[in-house]
């Protein structure tokens, strides 16, 4: 069971080897893993939408979709067909180039990130030795594309949504990158494969600084793909649907797919970097990876079901005034635990982090909730 998918791939490659010349073989193995990702991506997206609707429904004492297929399993298919058959309305004033390119260019990086994610032992599509940097670079290109979408559709609401999403992405990308630095220091390499292997002894999330950077990475990842408390760019109650207000039909489906694949890749990377990737007893490696990732995805939907939305300036304040300094302080803490001898290696980082959290919450007193007292008259 462990190397199920690897055997399948070697089988296919040997089959290709009989027919094709040597260069054709390497080409075909590349194409096979590419096709695997192309098949996996949309499949994951379809069943994430169903999972989200089921999880949210169950949190709200509802049953969730159960009409299309048993337990609603064919619901994503039904949504897909609906998206395909829905009339593709284009605003007449839309800028043809931008409006047309945006949905494509948002789905491309979302899919490309899958190449770097280690689904199991030896199951990384492209084991670049700049894995994490590859992910960060791609996730920064989406800013440009969202701008194209919001400006291209010539609609006031989408421009507002575009402005909000760009400012949100920039501020959270910085924190995202800095929160990964302690892990790179500990693992000593950028490649996701080696990071997972280096966690075989102890998961990074087990160490104090590792746990903190895991939380910061997860929160910034949520903000990166505009989910739950940070879904300001597509706030239904304020700006209708933000940058994808004017899209319908298959174009909207591309935006929708890109969003869900970003959620999957953020959760997958959190698992890879902090929760030991496919490390785990007994079960095959790729199964462990999927279990951990889907647990994190449940937390994302759990956030969506509970928390109200942050306002634009709170969002910025939280990123620049709280998360970024905390991530920066985390780096020396991680260094301390790396170089100091045993008794101090946990005490000193803990002390640094405690002090920084205290100082930062003192400076951010304004965000704390006021206790209110209500009196009664008759």
């Amino acid at each position: 069971m462990e190397t199920l998918f690897i055997q399948i791939k070697t089988l296919l490659v040997n089959a290709a080897a009989l027919v094709l010349p040597p260069w054709g073989v390497t080409l075909s193995s590349m194409i096979i893993s590419a096709l695997a990702i192309l098949g996996l991506g949309p499949l994951i997206m379809m069943y994430l939408t169903l999972m989200e609707r089921k999880v949210l429904a169950r949190m709200q004492n509802r049953i969730g979709p159960n009409r299309a297929g048993p337990w609603g399993l064919l619901q994503p298919l039904a949504d897909g067909i609906k998206m395909l058959t829905k009339e593709d309305i284009r605003p007449s004033a839309a800028d043809p180039l931008l409006y047309f390119l945006a949905p494509i260019l948002i789905a491309v990086p979302a899919l490309m990130v899958f190449a770097v994610i280690p689904f199991g032992k030896g199951m990384t599509a492209a084991d670049l030795n700049v894995g994490v940097l590859y992910f960060v670079a791609l996730s920064s290109t989406t800013t440009l594309v969202i701008f194209m979408a919001s400006w291209g559709s010539r609609n006031k609401y989408s421009v507002l949504g575009g402005m909000r999403s760009v400012s949100q992405m920039i501020s959270y990308e910085v924190t995202l990158v800095i929160s990964v630095v302690p892990i790179l220091m500990a693992a000593g390499s950028l490649s996701t494969q080696t990071i997972v292997e280096s966690q075989s002894g102890r998961w990074y999330a087990a160490t104090p600084w590792g746990l903190l950077s895991c939380m910061i990475f997860f929160i910034c990842g949520l903000a990166e793909c505009n989910r739950s408390p940070f879904d300001l760019p597509e706030a239904e109650s304020e700006i209708v649907a933000g940058y994808h207000t004017e899209y319908s039909g298959m174009r909207f489906a591309l935006f929708y797919m890109a969003e869900f694949m970003n959620v999957f890749s953020i959760c997958a990377l959190t698992v890879t970097l902090f929760l030991g990737g496919w490390q785990g007893p007994l079960l095959p490696s790729w199964l462990w990876f999927l279990i951990k990732t889907y647990l994190l995805i449940f937390i994302v939907f759990w956030f969506r079901g509970t928390l109200p939305r942050l306002r634009a300036d709170h969002l910025m304040g939280l990123a620049w005034k709280f998360l970024l300094p905390l991530a920066v302080m985390n780096i020396p803490a991680a260094a301390m635990s790396h170089f100091l001898s045993e008794p101090f290696s946990t005490a000193v980082p803990l002390a640094i982090l405690m002090v920084s959290v205290a100082v930062l919450s003192f400076f951010n007193k304004g965000y704390a909730a006021e206790k209110r007292v209500y009196h009664f008259t008759d």
Binding site: L56, K156, A369
Partner: protein, 385 residues
């Protein structure tokens, strides 16, 4: 934390203000209500409410029909609490025609009015959280409790939302057998739900961040602008018509009136939660004191049940007002002796509470303007009557 930006951010380079139309078809405007918003970046600079999309001239309809025939139309004023609309109209005409209401009918009326208050307040909090972005979870919890109460209304009056149950001098029919016990059991479970609801919301930091010091309303402006209900009480004025006029039999129940301190969105939210707890107290006392028998419509008004058209109140005018969950709901009825009212005017609390919408929203962000509108709790059926 200072929420209002007093100095315009962009003195030196002149940015264009962005003028957008929020509504009439918009997810967060509680019905067909349009706000003509001018934004400087995200900050609201000017806000002109535009109404009338749901205007059907309820007053002209009432003037062309008999008194009893316009009772079902009052259900459609504020379709979230039809019982308290009926209550207001029935009270006004009873004052006009000088009809006494028997004991048991009064108790039934108070019980139903307080049940609608609970229904209205949880729905408002549910919708407010929807505007804040909590994706329908608080709303579905609120609607789960609302369903239980609406089922009771369906059993009593025949319809969940359009009850048309009150008549001049009492109520249409007596309560079905065993209903008081069902109200009692529902009522015992409700505080547990309210605690769970509060646990989900009251200390939620993001809710506090988004609601505290947002849309602060001073006492003088609230009073001068004629606000009433939770809006007025959240700003610190404990003025509740049930306590002031002691209409119907509200004098017999002892309950408190919660009063806020700052008058911002958070206070309006929490005053409504406390008001629900007070309504539970009233319900508890009313269920204990209700006489088990007794006629449910005054002998003088009973014949008009069968023949509404020969109900001709004496010439004169009357202004009956009731503490509806939205505020002071007043009915001004002028009779000229004929079976049709000469003048019929509804004092709609939602409409008058909107006077201060612009004062509250200026200086805040666009996201806050939606939340402030949600906290004012308007229903377009009543605003446009």
């Amino acid at each position: 934390m200072k929420n209002k930006t007093d100095t315009p951010l962009t003195e030196d380079f002149d940015t264009q203000t962005l003028q957008i139309n929020v509504g009439p078809q918009h997810p967060a405007t509680h019905g067909v209500f349009r706000m003509d918003l001018t934004l400087d970046g995200e900050t609201v600079v000017r806000l002109k409410p535009v109404m009338g999309y749901l205007h059907r001239n309820h007053e002209q309809i009432a003037e062309n029909m008999t008194y009893a025939a316009s009772m079902p139309y009052t259900d459609r004023l504020d379709y979230f609490n039809s019982m308290s609309n009926n209550f207001g109209y029935a009270l006004a005409v009873e004052k006009l025609a000088g009809i006494e209401v028997p004991e048991r009918a009064d108790y039934i009326r108070v019980i139903l009015a307080e049940l609608t208050r609970i229904v209205n307040h949880i729905s408002v909090i549910g919708f407010l959280l929807n505007d804040l972005g909590a994706f329908f979870t608080p709303l579905t919890y609120a609607f789960r409790e609302r369903e239980k109460i609406l089922d009771l209304f369906e059993e009593i009056a025949g319809s969940r939302m359009m009850c048309n149950y009150f008549r001049f001098g009492g109520v249409k029919r007596d309560l079905p057998p065993g209903l008081l016990e069902r109200i009692r059991t529902m009522m015992d479970v409700f505080p547990r739900f309210l605690d769970e609801f509060e646990a989900l919301l009251t200390d939620n930091d993001i809710l506090c961040l988004r609601c505290q010091n947002v849309g602060v309303l001073g006492r003088e402006l609230a009073l001068n602008a004629g606000l009433s209900g939770p809006m007025l009480r959240a700003s610190g004025l404990g003025y509740d018509i049930r306590k002031v006029d002691r209409y119907s039999i509200y004098g017999r129940f002892d309950f408190k009136v919660p009063v806020g301190s700052k008058g911002d969105v958070y206070d309006r939210y929490y005053v409504r939660v406390l008001e629900m707890r007070e309504s539970l107290k009233i319900l508890d006392q009313a269920l204990r004191q209700i006489p088990s028998s007794g006629d449910i419509i005054s002998r003088k008004a009973a014949p008009f049940l069968k023949a509404p058209r020969n109900f001709k109140p004496p010439v004169g005018e009357a202004y009956g007002r009731v503490e509806s969950p939205k505020g002071e709901l007043g009915f001004y009825v002028v009779s000229d002796g004929s079976p049709q009212p000469w003048r019929y005017h509804v004092r709609a609390p939602s409409l008058i509470n909107l006077t201060v919408l612009e004062d509250l929203c200026i200086g805040h962000k666009l996201a806050d303007a939606m939340v402030i509108l949600g906290s004012i709790d308007i229903v377009l059926g009543e605003v446009d009557h």
